[in-house]
């Protein structure tokens, strides 16, 4: 089987962030500023990614604009020939910074929103006054002529505001809205009982998205990421391990997905010690679950093995203790009952907000 090159690079520039969302996709053990890659190291990563076949880079974090060199980093990604996407909370963006980012070649902005109301957004994101700053960031992005995607992470405590979130996307001038149900790794797994939606909430959300797609066709594209706790078949996580996508962490670890550091015991290549091409092609971390050879029953020989690639390794590890297990989201998994049990236990309200040094 020939090895396809990756399509997209997730560049997690920093784990620093003014927000403290309880479903943050960063690992529980957050990297310190002193460990972060330099501007020149990122420039090298971008050149190697483009040479390898990557077409897009997602400049993410943490909050990418918390880096003082975000303009230089964006310029380096653009110079490498990558389509540059800034994934931001927006609260640090001002007109001057945005103008410099546009001049550096920024192609697109994805702005997160935690809820449709100011109070809800403040509580979930853990930052006072966040919502008006986000509204201002959206206006700046549109005024600069850049396309805007709004990213609404949805869960048990804000799904009742989904119609208002869709209205907010239209009001803020987004051409695209991502309605992303929380996925349960790291911080979100820790807060699972407070975040898991009910079946009725999920069904209402799905109907709401379908109606809005029809109503705003040609004006607003809505991407919908469903939660797999109510599913019978797992998602094709990352389009398959090491097939299309790679991430680089703030400290230079090359990862098959942004949550992969949760796989205890797995060693990841570091860009400070190897090339991106070598990490992609031959590092044990990338080859461990690539393709179908690693699969056990019931994945082995399953007609869907090359459709869902066995689901998510991080979820398999988090719920069963073994990364090579079938994702419990699959009804054929002997661990499938764990999801129903988690849904039964859900319904708490209190969050553990993300913070440095909280991981134990």
């Amino acid at each position: 089987m020939s090895l396809d090159p990756p399509l997209a690079l997730l560049a997690e520039l920093t784990h620093r962030c003014p927000l403290r969302c309880p479903y943050c996709s960063n690992p529980l053990a957050l990297a310190r500023a002193s460990e972060e890659l330099s501007t020149e190291e990122w420039a090298r990563v971008f050149r190697e990614a483009a040479a390898l076949g990557c077409l897009q880079v997602h400049l993410s974090g943490g909050e990418p604009t918390a880096r003082r060199d975000i303009v230089e980093i964006t310029a380096a990604a653009h110079a490498a020939g990558l389509y540059t996407n800034l994934i931001t909370a927006g609260v640090l963006l001002d007109a001057a910074l945005l103008q410099r980012l546009v001049a550096a070649g920024l192609d697109h902005v994805q702005l997160s929103v935690q809820d449709a109301t100011e109070e809800g957004a403040e509580r979930i994101g853990g930052l006072k006054g966040a919502q008006p700053r986000k509204a201002r960031a959206a206006a700046l992005v549109r005024a600069a002529g850049l396309p805007l995607t709004l990213n609404a992470v949805v869960h048990r405590q804000n799904l009742h505001h989904l119609p208002e979130l869709i209205a907010l996307a239209l009001d803020w001038g987004a051409a695209r809205l991502e309605v992303a149900h929380v996925q349960y790794y790291g911080w979100a797994l820790r807060n699972r009982a407070a975040l898991l939606p009910t079946r009725a909430q999920l069904d209402a959300a799905t109907r709401c998205v379908e109606a809005a797609r029809a109503a705003h066709r040609g004006r607003l594209v809505i991407d919908y990421v469903v939660p797999d706790y109510h599913a019978r078949r797992p998602k094709a996580c990352m389009g398959g391990w090491g097939r299309r996508f790679l991430a680089v962490s703030p400290s230079g670890k090359v990862l098959p997905c942004h949550a992969a550091e949760s796989l205890a015991g797995m060693e990841f290549p570091n860009i400070r010690e190897t090339s991106l091409a070598a990490a992609w092609a031959e590092s044990p971390a990338f080859t461990a679950f690539r393709g179908t050879g690693w699969m056990r029953e019931p994945c082995r020989g399953c007609a869907r093995a090359e459709l869902d690639w066995g689901g998510c390794r991080c979820q398999a590890f988090a719920l069963t203790g073994e990364a090579a297990s079938t994702d419990p989201a699959c009804a054929l998994s002997p661990h499938h009952h764990l999801l129903a049990e988690a849904l039964e236990a859900a319904g708490t309200e209190a969050f553990v907000w993300r913070e440095h040094g909280a991981a134990t």
Binding site: G53, L55, Q56, H58, D107, G145, G218
Partner: protein, 85 residues
């Protein structure tokens, strides 16, 4: 309509894979040969009829067949947010 690429959308060569792609915010489309011929003519100046004319001059197919293909393709790409009319 006079189609043009939506903000942040462009036709770009994918050298590593020897093909052309439509790059869009957090997405990419791989146009088939017909779609690629149409997209190469999208410049914000040519209207739909001019695109059909240009294709009719190059390809040995009835103009109404080409026009129907172009219509369907443009409508699809507008719905997907890649083009604006």
């Amino acid at each position: 309509m006079t189609p043009r690429f939506a903000p942040g959308v462009r036709l770009q060569e994918d050298r590593a894979r020897g093909r052309w792609i439509v790059m869009a915010p957090e997405r990419m489309f791989v146009p088939d040969e017909t779609a690629l011929e149409v997209l190469r003519l999208v410049d914000g100046a040519r209207d739909e009829a001019a695109i059909v004319d240009a294709l009719a001059a190059r390809f040995d197919a009835p103009r109404e067949v080409i026009a129907a293909d172009v219509r369907a393709l443009l409508e699809d790409l507008v719905a997907r947010g890649a083009l604006m009319g």
